[in-house]
């Protein structure tokens, strides 16, 4: 019995029990991670998970049931239970649920992978992290950590509309971090990103990072930060490195354009959005330099796939075009309710989780400048890079970010290092102040985006480059 057969049995049972639509995902997921500290491995995990999740629609209500048993009988029981749960939802029912049409596909898709990360010997991977962290300690770090993570996911999706799709998504990434501890505070430096860099690629991604080469610099910068002057307080020109700007995109654009938030479906837990659907197509989100795309077709980015978890094929669309809000991240039911004609952004982080609207690759299209030009054209400002903390209100408007490191910019030159840099603002006002944008785009990956109850971890990608913003408040203090 194939996994497609298992999924089809579940869907058939859901329909027999009274569902008007049903889909089922069989997933088999392998995960491996290693963490090292100060030259020694401190954790090595190897996980394997498999099961089936069934979604059933009865009237205006969804039901979902998941079980780690891939027998025909268990799949049929799961289908029936999903329908029974949907029927119970009718006790507090709402408006009708429709699904926007999507192409019904029989398809296979796999992400690109030149070196299978699970096939790389553990000893080689351990050597990489232990050498990198040992090197950071030798160069002055009090705590030096390194991590890699690998996900290998197979999915078989079947729907009552006739979908039959299997996908093989391989993702991995790594990062290192040096911490220096002073009298009253800690200072941190990370490479290549605060939580590492990740993509839908093989171990060649990690090899390309060259972690060892950056280890001495990180340790030295973390120590130097302990005695650097504080970032000044006030309003100034702010230049953000691409790694920090990707999180700004994630938090103040990506989450804000999630249609389930806009519709209030996540109001209690994740919050809502400041965006009003009646303004789609006319609202000025940012300056004319701001072009944000939703594009799961980008090769190697962490939010890439062939089909989402409703079977909708990956496709590029704009969320913000020339500074105007024009698109949302949607699923088939949320799009139908909002009167839109597209879904394509629904995923779940495992077979036991209900698929929901998630970011795919949400990022900036390139601008005309380079970072060097941006600094050269700034008389007075601050250049911040590498995220250290992030916080934004429940409507995705008021934000405050902290960065690991900053530099004075005076008369077109990068000056002295600054510690504890923070900046704060309101989303649309901030994006409208963007007046220079670099062409130096990188695809940054976020493997830890939390949303949903129980919390699901989403993998998202974010093309981003350095940019400049005018009159931003910096240097907020505790």
């Amino acid at each position: 019995m194939s996994f497609f057969d298992v999924a089809e049995a579940a869907v058939a049972a859901a329909l027999d029990a009274g569902a008007r639509y049903a889909d089922a995902r069989v997933m088999h997921k392998r995960y491996e991670s290693m963490e090292a500290r100060n030259g020694e491995v401190e954790e090595l995990n190897s996980d394997e998970s498999a099961g089936i999740g069934v979604r059933a629609l009865v009237g205006s209500s969804w039901g979902f049931y998941a079980v780690p048993d891939l027998s025909d009988s268990a799949a049929r029981l799961a289908g029936a239970r999903a329908t029974a749960i949907a029927k119970a939802s009718a006790r507090v029912a709402g408006p009708g649920v429709d699904l926007v049409p999507t192409t019904v596909n029989t398809a296979t898709w796999a992400s690109e992978c030149r070196i299978d990360p699970l096939a790389v010997p553990l000893s080689d991977k351990g050597d990489l992290l232990t050498h990198a962290t040992k090197t950071m300690v030798e160069h002055g770090a009090d705590q030096a950590t390194g991590v890699y993570q690998i996900w290998d996911t197979r999915k078989w999706f079947v729907s009552s509309e006739g979908h039959r799709i299997d996908q093989h998504v391989r993702e991995c990434g790594a990062g290192i971090q040096a911490t220096a501890i002073g009298e009253g505070e800690t200072q941190v430096r990370s490479y290549p990103a605060a939580r590492g860099q990740y993509g839908t690629r093989g171990w060649e991604l990690v090899q390309g990072l060259d972690l060892l080469a950056h280890a001495p610099r990180l340790a030295e910068e973390s120590r130097e930060l302990l005695t650097a002057p504080l970032c000044p307080s006030g309003e100034t020109a702010l230049i953000l490195g691409g790694e920090q700007l990707f999180l700004q995109i994630h938090e103040s654009v990506g989450h804000a354009i999630e249609l389930d938030r806009i519709l209030g479906w996540e109001a209690a837990f994740a919050g809502t959005s400041w965006l009003d659907l009646s303004q789609l197509g006319s609202l000025r989100y940012g300056s004319e330099l701001m072009n944000i795309t939703i594009d799961p077709t980008l090769p190697g980015a962490l939010g890439s796939f062939g089909f989402d978890d409703e079977g909708t094929p990956a496709a590029k669309r704009y969320a913000v075009k020339d500074g105007i809000w024009v698109g949302v991240l949607a699923g088939r039911d949320s799009a139908a309710l909002a009167g839109l004609d597209y879904g394509g952004s629904v995923r779940a982080d495992g077979w036991a989780r209900l698929p929901m609207v998630r970011m795919t690759n949400v990022g900036l299209e390139p601008g005309p400048h380079t970072l060097e030009q941006i600094i050269a054209e700034t008389d007075d400002g601050v250049f911040m890079e590498h995220n250290r903390s992030w916080s934004i209100d429940d409507k995705r408007l008021n934000f405050q970010f902290g960065c690991e490191i900053a530099y004075e910019v005076k008369n077109g030159k990068k000056g002295r290092m600054l510690r504890n840099p923070t900046y704060t603002g309101i989303g649309p006002k901030f994006w409208q102040s963007m007046d220079m944008l670099s062409s130096e785009i990188e695809y940054w990956g976020t493997p830890n985006c939390g949303k949903g109850q129980p919390t699901q971890v989403g993998h998202t990608g974010h093309p981003s480059a350095p940019a400049r913003f005018r009159n931003v408040r910096v240097g907020v203090r505790a």
């Binding site: 394997e48 939802s89 429940d394």
Partner: protein, 437 residues
């Protein structure tokens, strides 16, 4: 096959496959039912029955941990084979603290049969009560019931098994864009009163019409239990974690008077043992303002020459507290309000993030209701604000002006986790921005 039998079988297989290894096994069965509502209707209704098995092996100075949800004979055999292959090529682990010795349970888990067997209809009824009590306001939130059954076995002879239940109801009511909230966690679904919570959330939402915007400043505040739960979350993650203390990343110092003498903190576990097989008990962390203990796993305990407190979680993160609580005081929120000349009543804190772990400096925002207190009375609602605050400083000696008499169990994001929080009256809270930026 129940979880004890599963754990026993995996231990037998592993001991045979890895002669001379130290081996331990956990098997956890979780049934979770969750009913989410938004726009005053149930929009997600989910259930899962999962069994996961974790096998840890230490051989020739190397350690590896593997897990699976495949519990067929073939799946368990594969788990053991995978572990045996991995441990031989794993990097060295000089910090291995050894296995937990045989020791009996101190606490028994609380299993409420009605909660264990709760149906989607039982949860929907709580949601119906919440929605109805909100009197036409838009509502959103969730009701969850869950049952955990877990077993631990190791090659040093430790054998434990326990069960526990959990129930949570967490919801907001919305009036013209203003939200009010009510949250509660228990081991019994019958403790959750949907009507009472819906009424509290609605009352808070309705009393926020025409809010004022206040300037950044240090304000005297009352934090309600929902907000205090955030303090407990961050103290649990970053404060009393012995690994963070050993690495000088935490403010906590055993024996020091770090808090106001009105503050006592304890951990009251709902799971009777941890993933390393150490029985748990109630742990007093702060007594009358003095830090008295830290949460230890076996690795941090070995470094400190102490005993594990049963808070083993991740080796990389260190010990984890999931059930931290404040001992209640004697005050009521009304009495606290009556003593304030000018201050703020804050219901909830949102999206708090650590700026510096050693000082436990955090930034975040208020949510679900803030009001101005003037002359001992609540006078008007206030727009949400951003704060940037050192949490230990807010509870430091002389900084706590009152502790509420009712400590309310609040849901956490961890299954079987809960924060038990009374209202707190604090001398100062650092507001650093407002809704207009």
């Amino acid at each position: 096959m129940n979880v004890s039998q599963t754990a026993e079988q995996v231990l037998d297989l592993a001991v045979r496959a890895l002669p001379g290894a130290e081996v331990d096994v956990t098997a956890d069965a979780v049934h979770r039912g969750l009913t989410r509502f938004a726009n005053s209707r149930i929009h997600q209704n989910v259930a899962e029955d999962t069994v996961s098995v974790r096998l840890r092996a230490h051989l020739d100075g190397r350690t590896v941990t593997t897990t699976t949800t495949l519990t067929s004979p073939e799946g368990l055999t594969s788990l053991v084979s995978r572990t045996a292959a991995a441990v031989r090529s794993a990097p060295r682990d000089p910090g291995w603290p050894g296995l937990a010795p045989a020791a009996p349970l101190v606490l028994s888990g609380v299993v409420d049969e009605a909660t264990r067997d709760a149906s989607p209809d039982d949860r929907a009824a709580r949601v119906r009560d919440f929605v109805d009590a909100a009197g036409g306001l838009e509502t959103a939130g969730y009701c969850q019931t869950g049952h955990w059954s877990g077993a631990y076995r190791n090659s040093a002879g430790q054998a434990l098994a326990a069960q526990a239940t959990t129930a949570e109801l967490d919801g907001i009511a919305r009036d013209a864009g203003a939200d009010g909230v009510a949250r509660r966690s228990s081991v019994r679904l019958s403790d959750l009163d949907g009507a009472a919570q819906g009424a509290r959330a609605a009352a808070k939402a309705r009393s926020q019409a025409d809010p004022v915007e206040l300037p950044p400043d240090r304000y005297e505040v009352i934090l309600e239990p929902e907000a205090v739960a955030d303090l407990l979350t961050n103290f649990a993650l970053f404060g009393f974690n012995a690994k963070a203390v050993q690495e000088r990343r935490s403010f906590a110092e055993v024996g020091a008077a770090q808090f106001d003498e009105a503050i006592s903190l304890y951990d009251e576990p709902r799971e009777p043992f941890d993933g390393e097989g150490t029985p748990r008990t109630r742990l007093a962390l702060v007594e009358k303002g003095v830090t008295t203990a830290l949460a230890h796993d076996r690795r941090t305990a070995a470094v400190a020459g102490a005993a594990s407190t049963g808070h083993g979680g991740s080796a990389a993160w260190g010990p984890i507290l999931n059930n931290l609580g404040f001992a209640p005081g004697a005050g009521s929120t009304e009495e606290m309000i009556s003593r304030i000349k000018r201050g703020l009543l804050i219901t909830d804190l949102w999206y708090t993030r650590v700026l510096d772990p050693r000082t436990l400096a955090l930034t975040g925002l208020t949510r679900n209701g803030v009001w101005l207190i003037e002359g001992g009375e609540v006078t008007r609602p206030v727009r949400n604000m951003r704060f940037t605050q050192l949490y230990p400083q807010a509870l430091g000696p002389g900084a706590v002006l009152g502790v509420g008499a009712e400590a309310v169990p609040q849901p956490s994001r961890v299954f079987l986790g809960a924060w038990t929080a009374p209202a707190l009256h604090l001398a100062s809270w650092n507001i650093t921005g407002n809704a207009s930026g």
